[in-house]
Amino acid sequence: MEIHLSPYKQIGRVIVILILAILSLMGQKTLPDPSVPLGQFTATTNPAGIAFYQKQPHSSYLLSPYSDYVVIGDKSHSLIQENHPESAIERPGTTFPTNMVQQIQAYLGKATLRYASLLPTKTIYTGIIGSNTLSVVRTYYVQEHSQPTEIAATLQYSRDDVIVDDIGMLLSESDDETVKVYEQVTKKEVLRLTTINDRRRKSLSKSLFILNRRTPGIIQIKVSPSDYVIVDNEQKKIEFIDENPEIKEKTILTQYEIVILADMWGSTL
């Protein structure tokens, strides 16, 4: 015989089912750092920052507070404190609702990668992924009584990478074959200038290209208008430097965009 419950009891049972659903979903095994396709690359957060990579040797790139720096007075400081505790790094995936939202965004291919370092001051990296673009916004919270004179975002690049700016100036060490193919495809001549400081080459260009024979796809980086670029050939690091950064509401915003362009190598053969 069916028992008919009062409306309140019926609602009570529905609430029980809701609670069961929440308990069930809380146990869902998820990845702390889901990876999202970024053109021919894959983007993800990892313990060091926001990375994008291919499953080829020497084809991973990292945006990280460990290599980004700020100049206060005469001293340059990394954006993350040395010997910091684990709690100084905040990644999504630690709490149930934010993790779930991030996973659903990853599923839709529109993930927002978020990485924050909390010491000595808060720096938040937010990477918004389109089909082949990664727009990075870095928010640096200025410490009280400090006046940064310079702040730099960096990108660690890989062995064998060739870096050319949009006017065709070669900023990295040369790889003649890669350069030849690039010239062939773009029909632009690459300028191999000998500068005074060959280790750290400077460019005022607003767009850079990273080419690698090992890697299908070309990386284009669109630089923020207020920045200039230094390519450090020894440390294999591109620095996007903002001199006299504008401080708004005690924060400095840095923006740049990474675009993965279609593979040019296939078309040469």
Binding site: H4, Q10, I17, L20, A21, G27, K29, Q40, Q56, G266
Partner: protein, 623 residues
Amino acid sequence: MILALVAACWFYIFPTLIGRAVIGWFKQKDSLKDFFLYFISGSLILYTLAIGLSVFRLFTPSLFYSILVILTGVSVIANGVISSLFITNKHHTHHHTLRTSNILIYSFILITISIISFVIWNNDVPVPYGLNWDMFEHQTLINLIQQGTFSFKTSQISDTFQFDGYSSIFHLLNAIPQIIWHPEPARYWWIIQGLHLLSSVCASFYLGYVVTKRIIFGFIAAIIGAFSFESYVAYATLFLVPQTFTAVCFAYGLGMLLEQKELLAKRLVWILPVLFLFLFLNHYIIGSAAIVLLCTVVCLLVLFQRWPKSYRGIVILLPLITFGILTFFTRFIDLSAINGGEALQYVYTPQKLFEFMQVFFGNALIFLGIPGIIFSFHEKDNKYRIVSIAGLLVLAVVVSGIPYALKFYVLGHYLIGIVMAGGIWLFAKNISSKIIQCCILLFLTLWFSIHLLLNAVYWKNDIHYDSFSTHYSQAELDAATFLQAYDTQDVLLLSDPATQYSLEAFSGMNSQGGAYMNNNTRYIVGKLFRYPTTEELIQELQTIQDPLMSKSHQRILLVMSGRLFQWINLPEENQQDITINIWAPAPLSYKQRNDIEQFRNYHNFNKIYENRDLIILEIPLTY
């Protein structure tokens, strides 16, 4: 695409037509469950026919095609006559019309649930891409059947199968629509897996309905079944492979058995042996387990009829005793001796199993399973209770630590799904408001959709190709099309395990072992670039032999793909490990193309094909 759709439907329709053409004469009317009987009977008839032709060495593509065409014509006519005989029964016609409206509504809901589940899983897997890794080996076998190679043993058809885990019935049933309709295999598999999901959702619904005689319970079971995907080892719903096909047939068989009013009804005397034979042929281990479970169910039905109050003890004791016995005996099994040591890879600790459970459906098994068992004590009808016991038995086997035990969960999918549905029903059964009941069903769909969605994100994390998740690329399919037109006589395909596995399936060209290539072949491919002279390389290549080829090959088509380079970069022990593969395709980089050019020029090999992901070189072995 339409051909693929028709062919995929033909997989289910043709055996059903054959079965009905034979059995229909002995019946007065059709009921829905009869179609399952027609399907398995028809399948067995077709398999017997193929085996017969093979025994007399008459299994040739042209003859088999002709027989299939004749059988199609005859069965269509016979079915027409049988239907007209049924229609003359007025009572039956009236009854049928009344039920048709309900059936249409239920079918619409079940199709909708299946489509939602299919779309969630395949959101980044458009046609013709796919994620069913095992599909390649099955398609390879299907290709060989189409070419006229047929045997009861799969290992005698292709060297991709080194272990006979099932007969070739599953492959024959898939070969028949491909012989008749010639669909593109990749599209065929994409669609038929959607149909398999639908059949699985209907099976959950049917079982749910049979054990409680409540339509709403059927829908709860269908929703849980549709969105719970065991994405490791078991794969019950979204991948069509012999074990999942066996499991869905088991679920229908179990439903049919529970629906019988009399246990010793005449029809069971012939239905059960036919069903058992079909289950066993489709998968020896899972089929046998299914048979054991069905026999257990029969025993429990008898037991509960005689001693109605014995169920409380049995619910708890039987799974515990099973677990204890299996755990005890597992300690004496030498796992390294089973299937070349592969069994060791498939023994999971309780922690790992718990992790899998959380990937599949979070904590739902705990928070719905426990109320589900409690519900079994409340429910007056024994059928739900019996299914619960069978489900707990499967769970006991899964956690017992015997190798490959998680595979048995493919049967558990249907049983545990019913237990979880019981967990919901424990709270929802006395809710009289239809609106609230509908809301609960919608909420359940949302809840389990999220589980499936998160499961998909987790599972697909590392198999991206451009913006898709797939085990093969369009470039590989294009290469396979090129190879189909190539002279396949005395040629062997060679590449890394994954590339040759996929190309062999789509092109029909033979390789040594596909993804299960032997150690010698792995060794040679692993150091392909390290042979100092062409003579040495060719001498090594000559040692690659497919034991099933009647004469040795004279040429090798070496497929140098992005995957091959990734595989060559693996440590040697990983190259020798059959469980490690390059799961996603990869385009060739400029450097890799350059390396191939240098390799080709050095050895003076011909390049016969090239695209974004691969270059094919022809290597004559008569150097």
